[in-house]
Amino acid sequence: MKYHQVIVVGGGLAGLRAAIEAATAGHDVAVLTQVHPVRSHSVAAQGGINGALANMPDGRDDTPEKHAFDTVKGSDYLADQDAVEMMTALAPKLIRQMEHWGCPFSRTDEGTISQRPFGGGGFPRTCFASDKTGHALLHTMYQHIVKHGIRVYEEVVAISLVVEDEVCRGVVAMDLQSGEIIPMASDAVIFATGGAGQVYRPTTNSLIVTGAGHAMAYKAGVALKDMEFVQFHPTSLHGTNILMTEGARGEGGHLKNNLGERFMEKYAPSAMELGPRDIVARSIQTEVNEGRGFESQYVHLDLRHLGSDKILERLPGIRDIAINFAGVDPIVEPLPVQPAQHYTMGGIDCNADGGTAVAGFYAAGEVACVSVHGANRLGGNSLLDTIVFGYLSGKNAGEYVAGKEGNNKEHSAVAAAFEQAVKDIEELRASDGPMDPSDIREEMQDVMFRDVGMFREEGPMRSAVGKIEELKDRFSSIYLRHRGKKFNLDLYRTYELGGMLEIAHVIALGALERQESRGSHYRLDFQDRDDENWLKHTIAYYTPDGPRLGSKEVAIGKWQPEARRY
């Protein structure tokens, strides 16, 4: 049995930041990651990271407090305001620290970090490295893992979280290259496994964003929070649904329908294209649904008036993607864009320390729900979330394990979980039923997008819940195409699918129960926000018969809920 004081599951920005914090405090830390860290989905973030650095001439009055207010308003008041204020207060220092570590941010004339406006923000607050900010940050973060010599188990995934008597004892892992199952004891575990975007299609998310961490924690008895809040990004490239950054609108891009109208005038007359994502996404879909789109599927994101110099300097990444994947050069043609699933606001129920109800178990980044994003995340706040809560969870996990060294070494609960995992994986490997897991995956993704998507209503959602239950039932009699051990994608992807069905169930049931509209959760049959009955977090616990739902209070601070207008 292997042992490390702290095991971080996930090699993206949040996981690596957590590992650096715990390791530099002197602890023995290991990172488990499904793909080499630089392949993690953080790499695909484009537009930037928010912090009130006040570097721009028109942003000198920005403060962490104003950043917090914009975040809370953007969240439709579902975010916990104490956590939001902590995040925005830490933002300037932690962003500058990334600069000190080598991140190649774009610069102002004075040589400070440049900032651009983003949706739902009152100031140019989004720090960026052209339109490849996630790539710049992730490579910088990984370089610091190298610098500190932190142990990375590459292509090793966790397959179960070991909890005994409300205390975390470690994980059971699987080496994808060899197929070997490995018991790994630890005194603390930090999950930073990313979102659950692959529950939907279309999604902008990477193919590895399957909610594996959500499902493992949920199955181990940890609650999930606010899972019904799913962000749909307004502008994904039509066809492949690759992200076209909000920075394109931040730099001045226009959204136009098939009449050539800047239709955001009707929906967010003062913020226009820089309204929050939930509102812009629904506006685009409304235009398309009412016949003012192109090919009944998309609208135009027009950047031509920005000129080639600005596009080449500020948006070269999305230009390359548009040329390579859609054959469209935004210097000469408008980009065809449509909404697609983009971000999982909900996640593992944790507090602002990253801690959960299980001692020694922490979560950070997209898999976590602190909650700082509430019902709708602002663009530029997810990268910030990763470095702030990566830092905090690493720091707090480090403090938690101090004095406990070796406590869980050779722990019997890990040995028992290992035996169970071997049995479960062998059972999965031997699957020989009539059902094709690929069909189940596609049907789940389609029903979720259609019926638990941007516009929701009781009837379709009720049938979606029924459909998910049917798919779970079919999943119990699937077949596998390949039974080998080495790099068996069929096996691991099918394992992931089992978890995704659980997550889909939680999302659909939470959305059905919540009889109001708030942020990304928009109900045609309950179009108003209902603070009296629904200003609360949804909590979901695993049971073999499906999710058991409860609720939890929202931490309101300085700002009383008021109507969102943009």
């Binding site: 790499v43 500058r96 600069e99 990477s206 590895i208 390949h482 790099f487």
Partner: protein
């Protein structure tokens, strides 16, 4: 084009004595990429196929393969540009783990060896950033586009003939120059000492395979030449910056 044939390299070194090409006839769909074709094989034809993937948008570097005789990212490669016959091999000159999955360990080891992180002389205060002019920042534009896919490393003849796997290779040297060229970095002497030897820049024979292979159109050879100029400048008493 309704159909396309994928010929895919197959080898499990522990089981197979010889590698082989398996052929699969797939339905062609408009906009189909090579990566989508591989998933079609995995999910509808042959679940035993192994390959790497992640972002499917050419930024993560997981899916660099040798496709119809060129280094390409499978996710970005349109099948319609390749014709009705697509032959997919793993990146050559790397050990095969299974099928299209290669052992990248020597690549990562060499990347780590050049100390790929900023080394400033002094710690900075978290209340302000280090200043950098726009011109200094844009001088590293090309290098920071690297996605560490390994295509350049696999394509380099100096790597091929180095059985010890100690030659840093194009990507690691590119990153060495990326930090040397960064106005915020103060470790020029250490960096040149790390790469100014037969395990580093002097084993680059300016063959330019790397620049040809790079899916991000980076010219690694140019960066290596800058390192050589810097190293020579030190010997003959010229200071580079």
């Amino acid at each position: 084009m309704d159909k396309v044939t994928f010929n895919v390299f197959r080898l499990d070194p522990e089981v197979d004595e010889e590698p082989r090409l398996d052929s699969y006839e797939l339905e062609f769909k408009e906009g189909m990429t090579v990566l989508q074709g591989l998933f079609d094989i995995l999910e509808r034809h042959d679940g035993s196929l192994s390959f790497r993937y992640a972002c499917r948008e050419s930024i993560c570097g997981a899916c660099a393969l040798f496709i119809n005789g060129s280094y390409r990212l499978a996710c970005r490669t349109q099948v319609k540009n390749l014709g009705s016959e697509v032959t997919i091999l793993p990146m050559p000159h790397l050990e095969i783990i299974k099928d299209l999955v290669v052992d990248m360990t020597p690549f990562w080891d060499n990347y780590e060896r050049i100390k790929p992180y900023l080394m400033p002389a002094e710690e900075a205060d978290l209340d302000k950033e280090r200043l950098q002019s726009q011109a200094d920042r844009s001088s590293i534009d090309e290098m920071i586009d690297c996605i560490l896919c390994g295509a350049c490393y696999s394509s380099c003849p100096s790597v091929w003939v180095d059985r010890s796997r100690e030659y840093a290779g194009p990507a690691a040297l590119l990153w060495a120059y990326r930090f040397l060229a960064d106005s915020r970095d103060d470790a020029d002497d250490e960096r040149i000492a790390l790469v100014g030897n037969e395990r580093g820049i002097w084993r680059c024979h300016t063959i330019f395979n790397c620049a040809d292979a790079c899916p991000k159109d980076i010219n690694q050879t140019w960066s290596i030449q800058q390192l050589k100029k810097d190293a020579v400048g030190r010997v003959i008493g010229l200071k580079r910056k």
